[in-house]
Symmetry: C2
DNA sequence: GCGCTATCTTAGCGTTGTTAAAATAAGAAC
DNA sequence: GTTCTTATTTTAACAACGCTAAGATAGCGC
């Protein structure tokens, strides 16, 4: 009785419904946007009844948490790509920001879910902040490799947060139409991002 | 038949229901938070039927627009207070940021409504950006008074946007619990804000 | 084979945003 | 001052939502 799985219609027990639900949610998010992401719609997309998800997630927000986690993983991948291939310290920091904002622009609804979850919990996922290879840790490392003093932990932390805040703010605002003329004048979205991020000079204290 | 207006129970026609609804919404926002801000709850708070608002607002989002507008006005007032009493250029820019983030911290749910509205329309309210005395214009002026070249319009615009993005990002993230140790180390929330904002050095190009 | 338990479905509750139709009041026309 | 018109408000209803309780189904240990 499932439409997208014609041959041997799915068994009563799904196998890994939890996984299927998260994927259905991501699919919906891309296809219909964040406003359309209801629990019932996700269940529909996965081909199960509206009550089925409650055996795998305590409530809707727990499903969204799982989606958000998926998002942070994807962001980490996008970051990895940006790390290579830039020589100057300034470039590396900036390009990390470009990658970050670029990700948010490519997946605006997913990005929204990610931050809504964080805000509701007043916390970002622990692994985003603590891991050496996490997004946050990576910014910190680039700052160090750019000359920031690793011994001055407080200043390093503040600089990292400043970077992150600017990137997050920009991620939420780049799509504002008011900036269109400026983007045109600079020759495109990416040039605009670089322009803004170049004004977030986190080096003033370090070099 | 209205509880909070005992003597001559309100007339059938309200007088200025539009105004009353916006105020009821603001009251609800402070008292119960953004999650509780339903159209029906607002109508309830104003003492009218669930359908009454539709004669003054096309739909819920239009009511929220009005609430958001109220918010931008309040922010402008908070900005006004911050303008005075700081000598160094750097101080003035930073304190504008502190005022901004402070406002967001004092009215987190209102701030959320303000930005959600902007995002849905992919635009901030025109008067926030265009007015000379608007928040945006004020940042620009402070940057000029701090030495930025008013002739280099593009760079000035980029710097202003950088400031705004950092402030917005910080506004949405200051309440994250991960930053608590750092706040303690620095001696409080305000010191933390100043610390972060000092790393957003938008002057590198100008002075 | 039997029962146990996890999984899924059906049915239903209370809430929401929104609309349609009827009720009410205020103002204009005469 | 009565009547007509129009703006405002109410009642009633719809579909969709999150969530819960009850029962159906099926895999697994025995």
């Amino acid at each position: 009785m499932r439409e997208s799985d014609p041959p041997e219609s799915r068994p009563y027990h799904h196998g890994d419904l939890r996984r299927a639900l998260v994927e259905a949610a991501c699919r919906l998010l891309e296809r219909e946007g964040a406003a359309a992401l209801s629990l019932r719609a996700v269940a529909r997309e996965a081909g199960v009844s509206p009550a089925a998800p409650y055996h795998h997630f305590k409530d809707k927000s727990e499903l969204l948490d799982a989606v958000a986690h998926e998002g942070w993983d994807k962001l980490a991948i996008a970051f990895q790509a940006a790390r290579e291939a830039h020589t100057s310290a300034r470039d590396r920091v900036r390009e990390l920001g470009v990658a970050y904002v670029g990700f948010a622009n490519r997946h605006p609804d997913l990005y929204r879910v990610m931050y809504d979850c964080s805000r509701d919990k007043a916390d970002m996922p622990a692994d985003v902040l603590e891991d050496e290879n996490s997004a946050y840790g990576r910014v910190k490392n680039v700052l160090i490799s750019a000359g920031a003093d690793p011994a001055d932990e407080i200043s390093l932390e503040l600089a990292t947060i400043a970077c992150w805040c600017a990137a997050h703010g920009l991620a939420e605002m780049t799509s504002f139409k008011q900036f269109d003329p400026l983007k045109d004048a600079l020759g495109g979205e990416e040039a605009f991002l670089r322009g803004v991020l170049d004004h977030v000079a986190v080096f003033t204290k370090g070099l």
